[in-house]
């Protein structure tokens, strides 16, 4: 059946079986392979995307459930060459190692920062408690999110139109 949704600001359609998972639709039909599959049981969070702003685990959402919704994936975080603050935070604070959990972590924490621009360590740890990382021990992920929060609060204070400093390659 036909399914249509807005993905990273662009209207995308596809023909799928009703049982096709959102993560498979994104990865296979739309070739957006930044969203990963880690467990198939909604336990690890590697597949986290945002649906109408809320973080959801796309391995337990059917593609057809996203009909007419706004989906944002890791590919939609950066604005061209300029990385989003959450991406800069992960780079600057060494918040990633193998990188497999990183897209899901950034989707969850970018949502957190919209809701809570100045989170404590515990706020961050609670927000990412549904996302597993096997490499970092979470220490630097917490720092990365705080780094991004700091950048966002500085940007909010800066005069309108001031660019956010880039990072990474």
């Amino acid at each position: 059946m036909k399914v249509t949704m807005t993905v990273n600001g662009t209207v995308r359609s596809g023909d799928v079986e009703p049982r096709v998972l959102l993560v498979d639709f994104l990865r296979t039909n739309l070739a957006l392979t930044g969203t990963h599959i880690g467990c198939d049981t909604t336990s690890c969070g590697a597949c986290t995307v945002r649906m109408d702003g809320d973080p959801v685990k796309s391995c337990t959402v059917l593609a057809v459930q996203a009909e007419g919704r706004e989906i944002k994936t890791v590919e939609g975080l950066a604005n061209g060459a300029a990385l989003a603050p959450i991406q800069v935070g992960f780079h600057e604070e060494h918040g990633l190692q193998c990188g497999f959990c990183t897209p899901g972590m950034m989707m969850v924490t970018s949502a957190l920062l919209e809701r809570n621009p100045n989170p404590t360590d515990d706020d961050i740890r609670w927000a990412i408690s549904g996302n597993i990382c096997r490499c970092t021990g979470y220490m630097n992920i917490v720092k990365a999110v705080k780094h991004a929060a700091q950048m966002q609060s500085e940007a909010a204070k800066a005069p309108a139109g001031a660019a956010v400093a880039g990072g990474g390659e």
Partner: protein
């Protein structure tokens, strides 16, 4: 560090990682991200039983399903002599079962279909008729009288025993025990766990029917060794096999072995002439691929009346699963377990090990560990703390009294290891100071008087990492050297290729920093590539913390070779004598005239444009490094816990980790590695368990049963450092990625046992879950 160093990104600089950009943008290249034209998908049918004879397999209905191209069984594989494959421990392992299934999750058949969904759908239509046999789930079960023979396929195998192995000296150890003032015994089980990298294993096999070239994309930590194994197993000529290991979503030892799925997918691609993709799901990963530990250990420590250690005696039973497929150096049946005397000057030791077949998944891998060092470190550190409790001595003092002293290095241990360097008392002192040990100890004593259950755990581990040297350490005869190939381009930029394979350790940054240090080419100008066997020089891969000790050394050595050629080029450009040139990182200048200089980039350009008479063009080289010895990182970890008497819940209040891995190339990356290992050690100590019921059903087959620590459970870590350079490594570096997983489980558990020791509790097997702690307290009448 000087500002020049900062610009170059040389050794000791915490430069940001070069590889981050693609991962932050969702543009990593993990195996499942690859799509080849005309690619088919494979799914594997696995045994629901732990032990059963296969009476028949009916594939007719599955073959007729929509989208199905082929159904592969063991019978078909046998026609091509591929139903069985050799293991890394000199045994055989079934690729697809032909006679019996020997563990739950064993590969029985495979479906090749147009889509992943179609392949998985068809699995349900394969009808297998099984005759169920009794399952054996422990070494005790394996050696019981009348136990079923698991490996009836092996000629001459009449029981379930695999190997007996010994190290040390039985006679001198016995004599020392006879004179002991006290013998402290610890019997403990290091349970089975699983590395569970967030990305599971998989491959895409692409055998080109026109050329015969087999290109296999594979989640592999050791692509070159796998290429050679594939050549030997399949008979394909090695030049026609190309293994590409792309970005790996973690490995931790799980991606070292050859799995049946790789062989079946390759055979299917060969037979069908199209690429075949196979990606295991989490359940398959946990129930069938390389597990870790599963050692039943008994240690006896003999001490004199002053608390000096006299001798150590250890026996272990190893549960190896249905096939002896441990990934470890060929000469060592229980890995490097005989490092079990640890950080202590124990005059004599005797270690015996027996391995057994059971109806459990095969493939004991070094899960963030240098081949069974984790088990050894856990046993000795637990035993030492228990001995201190029993002797009424302070855990730290007892350790200090028995440490190998700094002036004793190089130190030959009772089981023959030659420790390269160390300063154990210093690491201990730094850790105790950082923890505030004396105050915390007073606090613990005061709170115990009020009836609270609280304790401190210490572990002072010694790791042995960086295999080889090649004469002693080999995988299937392949010596455990590693390699680096460095090419400097005319514009002074470079590409470095190595035989190792990063799984998140940051090789693209760390190894570029070694080139920056040795050759003066900024780290940003050095591309680092690994994992493609057609382009990278041969190496044994990344596991057992060997990349920096071995390939890192090779990188330094090849850079130094190129520097010598660059010296000749600079001398030619400066019309000076080679001997008159002084090297300052990034340039050569004429002694006494620093204004007469040529940069490394100018020398590189000259290598292609303006050569001295008789010199070959180019500035490139390759170095194969076979280390003279292993490296011996060490450290002291200290943990403080509070235990809730009512529920048995353990709260880790402090975790101080002081690591000494010699020279740190990128301290930021090293600290990140330590954080990660401490979290995995926490998981092993308190949460992660792969266990089995009496019928051999795997409990822990998904992330709802196999508990991985999340951010909420994981404690906060406080790191400290000492630095004792390796005397034989060209940069003074040692491996580090595994130290925290090796050292921390004992520190966590010792804290729990310290808290429980006033009640006479001496052991709780990992994972130390609330229910076990509660039951132990209840057995002593401490709680209701």
């Amino acid at each position: 560090m000087s500002s020049t160093m900062h610009m170059h990104g040389g050794i000791g600089e915490s430069i940001k990682r070069k590889e981050d950009g693609r991962f932050l943008r969702g543009k990593g290249n993990y195996l499942d991200d690859f799509v080849l034209p005309n690619m088919m998908h494979m799914a594997i049918l696995r045994s629901p039983y732990a032990h059963a004879r296969i009476k028949s397999i009916d594939t007719a209905a599955a073959s007729a399903k929509l989208g199905v191209i082929a159904v592969v069984t063991g019978e078909l594989m046998a026609q091509h002599k591929l139903a069985w494959m050799p293991t890394m421990s000199g045994d055989t392992q079934a690729v697809l079962a032909t006679d019996k299934v020997r563990f739950q999750g064993q590969e029985v058949a495979a479906v090749i279909a147009e889509t992943k969904y179609q392949a998985e759908d068809a699995l349900a239509s394969i009808i297998v008729d099984y005759d169920i046999l009794p399952a054996i789930i422990s070494p005790d079960g394996a050696k019981a009288e009348g136990a079923a023979l698991i490996r009836d396929d092996k000629e001459g195998q009449s029981d379930n025993h695999i190997y007996h192995w010994e190290s040390g000296n039985q006679a001198t150890t016995q004599a020392a025990f006879a004179k002991a003032y006290k013998v402290v015994r610890l019997h403990t089980f290091y349970p089975r766990c699983h590395p569970a990298p967030l990305e599971t294993c998989g491959c895409i096999a692409d055998v080109n029917p026109a050329t015969g070239k087999a290109t296999i994309y594979m989640t592999s930590q050791a692509p070159h060794a796998i290429r050679t194994v594939f050549a030997l197993v399949t008979g394909l000529p090695e030049q026609n096999i190309r293994i590409i290991s792309p970005d790996l979503g973690g490995g931790f030892g799980n991606k070292v072995p050859v799995y049946p799925g790789y062989v079946v997918a390759t055979a299917a691609s060969l037979l069908l002439g199209r690429p075949v993709k196979w990606i295991e799901d989490r359940n398959e990963n946990l129930i069938s691929t390389g597990f870790a530990r599963d050692f039943h250990m008994t240690g006896d420590l003999a001490v004199d009346k002053d608390g000096k250690m006299l001798a150590l005696r250890v026996h272990l039973d190893s549960d190896n699963g249905a096939f002896f497929a441990d990934a470890q150096p060929s000469k060592f049946k229980a890995g490097l377990f005989h490092i079990v005397t640890g950080s202590y000057d124990i005059p004599t030791a005797h270690v015996t090990a027996d391995g057994y077949y059971t109806n459990k998944a095969p493939g004991g891998v070094a899960y963030r560990c240098s081949f069974r060092v984790t088990e050894a470190s856990y046993l000795i550190e637990r035993l030492v703390s228990n001995a201190a409790f029993e002797l009424g001595m302070d855990q730290a003092e007892f350790r200090k009294k028995n440490f190998i002293q700094p002036e004793q290095f190089p130190y030959t241990s009772a089981t023959g290891w030659v420790y390269d360097s160390g300063d154990y008392p210093k690491a201990m002192d730094v850790a105790l100071k950082q923890l505030g040990y004396d105050e915390i100890k007073k606090d613990v004593e005061a709170r115990r008087k009020k009836g609270e259950v609280t304790g401190i755990g210490i572990a002072s581990f010694t790791e042995v990492v960086g295999a080889g040297h090649g004469a002693e350490f080999d995988i299937l005869g392949l010596r455990m050297f590693d390699s680096a190939e460095l090419r400097v381009h005319p514009t002074g930029k470079a590409i470095l290729r190595m035989g190792t394979k990063s799984q998140g350790q940051g090789h693209e940054t760390t190894f570029a920093q070694i080139v920056a240090e040795e050759l003066g080419i900024p780290a940003q100008d050095v591309a680092v590539e690994e994992g493609d066997t057609d382009t990278a020089p041969y190496g044994l891969g990344t596991y057992a913390s060997r990349s920096t000790p071995v390939a890192g050394a090779a990188t330094a050595m090849v850079a130094r070779q190129l520097r010598e050629k660059a010296r000749k080029l600079a001398a030619h450009l400066l019309e000076a004598d080679e001997e008159d040139l002084v090297w300052e990182r990034g340039k050569f200048y004429v002694k006494g005239s620093p204004e007469r200089s040529k940069t490394i980039q100018e020398a590189a350009f000259a290598a292609y444009t303006n050569l001295p008479e008789g010199m070959q063009a180019g500035l490139e080289g390759v170095y194969y490094y076979d280390p003279p010895n292993m490296t011996y990182p060490f450290g002291t970890y200290a943990v403080v816990v509070d235990i809730d008497k009512g529920t048995g819940q353990v709260k880790v209040k402090r975790m101080v980790a002081v690591d000494d891995c010699g020279v740190r190339i990128n301290p930021m990356i090293v600290e990140g590695q330590i954080h990660g290992g401490l979290a995995e050690g926490f998981g092993i100590a308190f949460m992660q368990l792969i266990t089995f019921d009496e019928e051999g059903n795997c409990i822990g087959s998904n992330f709802m049963d196999y508990l991985i620590p999340g951010a909420w459970e994981t404690p906060k870590f406080e790191l400290g450092e000492t630095s004792t350079p390796s005397p034989h490594h060209p940069l003074g570096a040692k491996g580090v990625g595994e130290s925290p997983t090796v050292g921390s489980p004992a520190a966590y558990v010792n804290a729990v046992i310290d808290a429980l020791s006033p009640y006479g509790i001496t052991n709780i097997d990992m994972p130390v879950t609330s229910d076990k702690v509660w039951a132990a307290l209840r057995s002593k009448g401490v709680t209701e």
